[in-house]
């Protein structure tokens, strides 16, 4: 039976009990932070909306009704319709899928890449460290948005290329953080112990070093999500990210730009979606940082 005492026990009998206990403590600490809970609620809402988009959306996101084009917000079309008579609310609902996909893909590509480079540099030290961190510092000191633009220019417009371009500019931060983390324990005895048992460097890095860098990386990724969403939307706005008729929020704003002065809702509504979701990740990331990685807060 799982009870509170069992979870909070100071000497857990199994690994699982220890892990569950740790998770429980984290959850408790997060629950005490109202802003983080607001952020979590927004993220969960995004997930649910993306998951059940076909059920929630009142109209088709692609098929328009030309007779009803550029209608202002009303009871039938809560956020109005765009220049092809498509319901903007439905498009925003389906757009949640695209936003979520971009964010997840960037995180899946950039975080492990940065983690790998940072841990290898920190673990080996010496020349490996100098070369890898030199490379990281060069990427870090370049403007991210401009570099993403240049990469998309080379790869060609499209949502996949936008993801790759953003990921290429996002990894250096994770590499820096992971390396700093590794430096604090690279001389620790538990690593000597594993080494004496004959573990290869590869095994030590992936199984013993990386897991210890996970929490600070997760915090950083969550905090970066807002920036990733804004960059992706920016690329969409410039016509370099998701292509029409995909209901990507940035691309929707870009289409609405032509009628911004007379039909303000076409461009404004998707922007609210971007702001709310980015804010959600910011708030949750802040709360997560306070719980998982208080040191990082002190450093900023």
């Amino acid at each position: 039976m799982i009870t509170r005492d069992w979870l909070l026990s100071d000497d857990p009998e199994t690994r699982m009990q220890a892990r569950l206990g740790q998770g429980y403590r984290l959850a408790r600490a997060l629950l005490r932070n109202p802003l983080a809970m607001v952020g979590l609620a927004i993220i969960l809402l995004l997930l649910l909306v993306a998951m059940f988009a076909p059920l929630l959306a009142p109209y088709s996101p692609i098929q328009g009704d030309l007779a009803n084009r550029l209608q202002p917000p009303s009871a039938t079309h809560w956020m109005g319709t765009d220049e092809l008579g498509r319901d903007i609310l439905s498009r925003i609902i389906f757009g949640a899928r695209i936003t979520l996909m971009i964010v997840l893909l960037v995180a899946i590509i950039a975080a492990p890449l940065g983690l790998l480079i940072g841990t290898v540099a920190g673990y080996f030290g010496g020349w490996v460290d100098r070369i890898l961190m030199g490379l990281t510092d060069i990427f870090l000191s370049l403007p991210r948005l401009i570099m993403a633009l240049a990469f998309v220019a080379a790869l060609g417009p499209g949502i996949e290329n936008a993801v790759i371009a953003i990921a290429i500019t996002a990894w250096p931060v994770y590499a820096r953080i992971a390396r700093a983390e590794v430096l604090t324990f690279r001389k620790a005895e538990f690593l000597d112990a594993v080494r004496m048992q004959g573990a290869s460097s590869m095994r030590i890095i992936t199984l013993h070093v990386m897991p210890l860098c996970m929490s600070s990386t997760i915090v950083r990724v969550t905090l970066d999500m807002a920036g990733i969403i804004l960059t992706a939307a920016g690329l969409g706005f410039l016509g370099l990210g998701a292509q029409p008729p995909l209901p990507e929020w940035g691309a929707m704003i870009s289409r609405g730009r032509s009628f911004i002065l007379d039909q303000w809702w076409v461009a404004t509504m998707p922007g609210f979606a971007i702001v709310v979701v980015s804010l959600g990740f910011c708030l949750f990331g802040d709360g997560l940082r306070d719980v998982l990685d208080p040191k990082q807060r002190a450093r900023e």
Partner: protein, 345 residues
């Protein structure tokens, strides 16, 4: 005595170190633009000879362009060309990219500079007051502004600003740098319209230029302000918790003097780095804002070139924005080290 020799010895070494990192970073930037230029699916030879050229012509041009040389030789040639200010020709404007960039850069500089002035004059006092009244409503307002700076897309805020202040309230001029009928009426001296029109004594042009620049500059300034206020607040809090502040309070120094003279004075050096960072960030952020406001600056040039697949122009603009960004960042960092004796140790 020992300290002095250390200082005189350390300075040149630190300066050398600084120049070396700067050079390596620039080289890295060049390597990236060079590689991007290489992976582009547009065949540079075809762009010159056209697709109906014979195989012989194609080969001859390919050799002439040095595309059969080893990559490293090509890269060295590229670096050499860039150092001489040769960024290639723009396909869409038909002019040298460097010439184009020289023409559009002042517009960006003007907007970003006004933006950073707005950001500093509002952001720094806001940060100081937030620290002085920690947890009170001023503090909360700054927290919200800081979050907004992270969560609001600049291009969207620009559009919303246009709807409210241009279309509805008619408080500001619309897109562009100046009203159409005044375009080209001011003789270009510095390229900064506000300064040029003031020198010229053309106050009608000055007012028009001001009404056009104020909205995009304020929006840029807002993003700078969000960051500057937050950083000022945390620097100030650090100072206010120190013992010399308590001493001053016990001695009965008025709170205003404590804030501005005792607590603020030690942090202005740290603020230089923050302001430098946000100034560089504004140059980058202006890409989006310029597109929204049809502002004829380097960001607009870059996005237009992107849509026309004008690679020389894209890479040239990337290179210039990147170099200025790196220069400002590293420069403000060096300035901080130079000014703050604690950072030298």
């Amino acid at each position: 005595m020992k300290r002095e020799t250390e200082l005189t010895l350390n300075r040149p070494i630190a300066a050398l170190n600084f120049l070396l990192t700067l050079a390596v970073t620039f080289l890295g930037l060049l390597a990236i633009t060079f590689l991007i230029g290489r992976v582009v699916p547009i065949d540079p030879v075809l762009a010159v000879v056209g697709d109906r050229a014979s195989t012989e012509t194609y080969e001859a041009v390919r050799l002439q362009m040095g595309l059969d040389d080893p990559l490293i030789v090509q890269f060295a040639r590229y670096v050499w060309q860039v150092m001489q200010g040769d960024l290639g020709m723009s396909v869409s404007t038909g002019r040298a990219v460097s010439e184009d960039l020289g023409r559009v850069f002042p517009a960006t500089l003007e907007m970003a500079t006004l933006g950073i002035i707005i950001g500093v004059t509002i952001g720094v006092p806001m940060g100081v007051f937030a620290a002085a009244r920690q947890g009170k409503w001023v503090d909360q307002v700054i927290r919200v502004i800081g979050l907004a700076g992270y969560a609001i897309p600049a291009f969207w805020l620009g559009l919303v600003g246009l709807v409210i202040f241009y279309a509805n309230l008619r408080w500001v001029g619309g897109p562009g740098r100046i009203d159409l009928f005044l375009d080209g009426m001011v003789p270009p001296r510095s390229g900064l319209l506000l300064i040029d029109s003031a020198i010229d004594g053309n106050w009608e042009a000055f007012r028009s230029a001001l009404s056009h620049i104020i909205l995009p500059a304020t929006i840029l300034g807002f993003f700078a302000l969000a960051y500057i206020a937050r950083m000022t607040r945390s620097f100030m809090l650090e100072q206010l918790s120190q013992e010399f502040i308590t001493t001053a309070r016990v001695k009965g120094v008025p709170e205003r003097l404590i804030l501005w003279r005792h607590a603020f004075r030690p942090i202005w050096i740290q603020l230089i780095t923050v302001i430098g960072l946000s100034y560089a960030g504004l140059l980058e952020g202006s890409v989006m804002i310029e597109t929204v406001f049809s502002w004829p600056g380097i960001g607009n040039y870059l996005t237009t070139a992107l849509l026309n697949a004008d690679m020389n122009a894209v890479l040239g603009a990337t290179l210039v924005i990147g170099a200025v960004f790196v220069g400002i960042n590293k420069g403000s960092d060096a300035l901080y080290r130079l000014l703050d004796p604690r950072a030298r140790a």
